[in-house]
């Protein structure tokens, strides 16, 4: 089985996770820039974070045979820091021009403040300018209203709806998102948000078109194998292999290929002694 996990915060995960993901069939993933659980206080922290998504993390994934891409953007939580918002948005164009960046994101709403509104509008405009798709996060609280407001801003920005994936959907938000012409993302979590069995019901109701499934694994309680577990649940529910491939591979490929920067070739046999800027994933002296 070939799997594309379109939303995985690998910076927070271990090499064991990379091994298990590769063994489960993950060949490609996208790591969206997001917040790290504790607010950053200076733009320099963002610069280093973006560079690590483009450099070290990409290298680390390749050590396990996985192609790593990223999205670059200012997340809604930290957009509420006024000075930081301006400084980070100022440096985004330099990063959006780089190889390995396949979308603007995660952007969107958290508490639906005017600051979040402004950051989302500015970043939708940047996506249009850089001809990149956009990955939009929807709020955990008041999700339905946040999703509606997101769709309004997407429409007002002039970006083509097929260039936008609205993420973290549930049974109640999926109709409106699909009707808008945007893609609908589903983060499959242990316990909360959405699980693989509910996802199967959504797929039974809506079919595979424009639906994307991800693990959204990060530093919280989450499971990097949730895309595979969803595929297994689909199989158990009677979906055939072609529909499973449509959901866990062809859909994310089609969405992110719109960036023109997606790399899908198989990585050569991983060499764990290779180094990135002089550092490797092995400990101690190298031969």
């Amino acid at each position: 089985m070939r799997i594309f996990d379109p939303h995985a915060h690998m910076t927070s995960r271990t090499t064991d996770d990379y091994e298990a993901m590769a063994a489960s069939g993950v060949k490609v993933l996208v790591e969206p820039a997001f917040w790290l659980g504790q607010p950053r206080t200076s733009v320099g922290s963002f610069i280093d974070y973006f560079n690590s998504l483009l450099g070290w993390e990409r290298f680390r994934a390749a050590q396990f045979g996985i192609r790593h891409h990223c999205t670059i953007g200012l997340n809604p939580k930290e957009a509420n820091d006024d000075l930081l918002r301006r400084e980070v948005i100022d440096i985004l164009p330099r990063f959006l021009a780089k190889d390995g960046v396949v979308a603007v994101g995660e952007v969107g709403f958290d508490a639906m403040t005017p600051a979040e509104d402004e950051a989302l509008r500015e970043q939708l405009a940047l996506a249009v300018e850089h001809e990149l798709p956009v990955l939009v996060h929807t709020p955990h609280r008041d999700k339905a209203a946040g999703t509606r407001k997101t769709i309004e801003l997407v429409e007002a920005s002039g970006i083509a709806p097929e260039m936008v994936v609205i993420d973290h959907n549930n049974e109640l938000t999926v109709h409106e998102v699909l009707a808008s012409g945007c893609w609908a993302g589903f983060s499959i979590y242990p316990g909360t948000k959405m699980d693989e069995h509910r996802m199967v019901r959504v797929l039974e109701q809506h079919g595979p078109e424009r639906l994307i499934v991800n693990s959204a694994c990060d530093w919280g309680v989450s499971d990097p194998l949730k895309v595979r577990k969803t595929a297994d649940a689909m199989k158990a529910a009677g979906f055939d292999d072609d529909v499973i491939d449509h959901v866990v591979w062809r859909n994310p490929v089609e969405f992110f290929a719109q960036s023109g920067r997606l790399i899908l070739d198989d990585l050569a046999e991983a060499d764990l002694s290779a180094t990135f800027e002089g550092s490797g994933v092995l400990r101690g002296e190298r031969a």
């Binding site: 330099r94 990063f95 021009a97 190889d99 920067r261 800027e277 002089g278």
Partner: protein, 240 residues
């Protein structure tokens, strides 16, 4: 490599679309220096990343790539305005972008004002950056002691010094002594050194250090005697 040679090589190797993009990008950065902030990272994607010389080994740290040449031409197109953007391009650059900045230094009229970038690159452990930093710009502007230290670092991290600009002419007697001392240290540990170290050491042979290496031929330990033999055998070959 001079600018005319760079342009000719690029015309031969890049696609017509890549060259068209570069012409357009060069005009854009000449008109507005800040345009380079997005054009510089895009150069590899738009113009290409392969070796500039057909058939050259991409693993050779000193091989110029197509994007190196494109980035140098972009910076040259900016004229005097290039200097104001250089430090930030390096700061925000990935390894390929940083290499482009370093390779461009001798083509820009900077005096010694680019030395901060060269110094930074030499401080890293990234062999691509160290190799790119040690070009004609470093040969001309690095202080003697810094140049000697850079050559020693090359041997330490595995950058072949045969490709470093200015070797051996630019090395001082103190540089030759440090390298000989390094050979002694390695031999005493039973380890190997690259054959080309003798190009530098034998420019100013330091009697004391060389005697110390030769004394290892009589070491009571097998591995040290063997290491001394291997190291000194390279010396004879390099002289011949």
């Amino acid at each position: 490599m001079n600018l005319a040679e760079l342009s000719v090589a690029l015309e031969t190797r890049a696609t017509p679309e890549g060259l068209a993009w570069l012409r357009e990008a060069s005009a854009a950065v000449a008109a507005d220096a800040t345009a380079v902030r997005t054009r510089f990272p895009m150069a590899g994607r738009k113009v290409g990343r392969g070796p500039l010389e057909e058939g050259a080994d991409p693993a050779d740290l000193f091989t110029w790539t197509i994007d190196d040449a494109a980035r140098v031409l972009l910076l040259v197109a900016m004229g005097e305005a290039a200097e104001g953007e250089l430090a930030e391009l390096y700061r925000y650059g990935d390894a390929a972008e940083r290499r482009g900045v370093l390779r461009a230094l001798p083509f820009l009229d900077l005096g010694d004002r680019g030395l901060g970038l060269t110094d930074d690159a030499i401080r890293t452990n990234d062999t691509r950056l160290i190799a790119a930093a040690l070009g004609p710009y470093a040969t001309e502007h690095l202080p003697d002691a810094a140049y000697d230290q850079a050559v020693l670092k090359c041997v330490f991290v595995g950058v072949p010094i045969t490709g470093v600009d200015g070797v051996p002419a630019r090395v001082t007697p103190d540089g030759a002594r440090m390298l000989a001392a390094f050979v002694h240290e390695r031999v005493a540990a039973g380890r190997d050194v690259p054959a080309e170290v003798w190009i530098v050491i034998d420019k100013y042979p330091h009697a004391g250090e060389i005697a110390a290496i030769e004394a290892e031929l009589d070491s009571e330990f097998d591995d040290r005697r063997a290491a001394a033999q291997r190291a000194l055998s390279h010396r004879i070959q390099e002289r011949a």
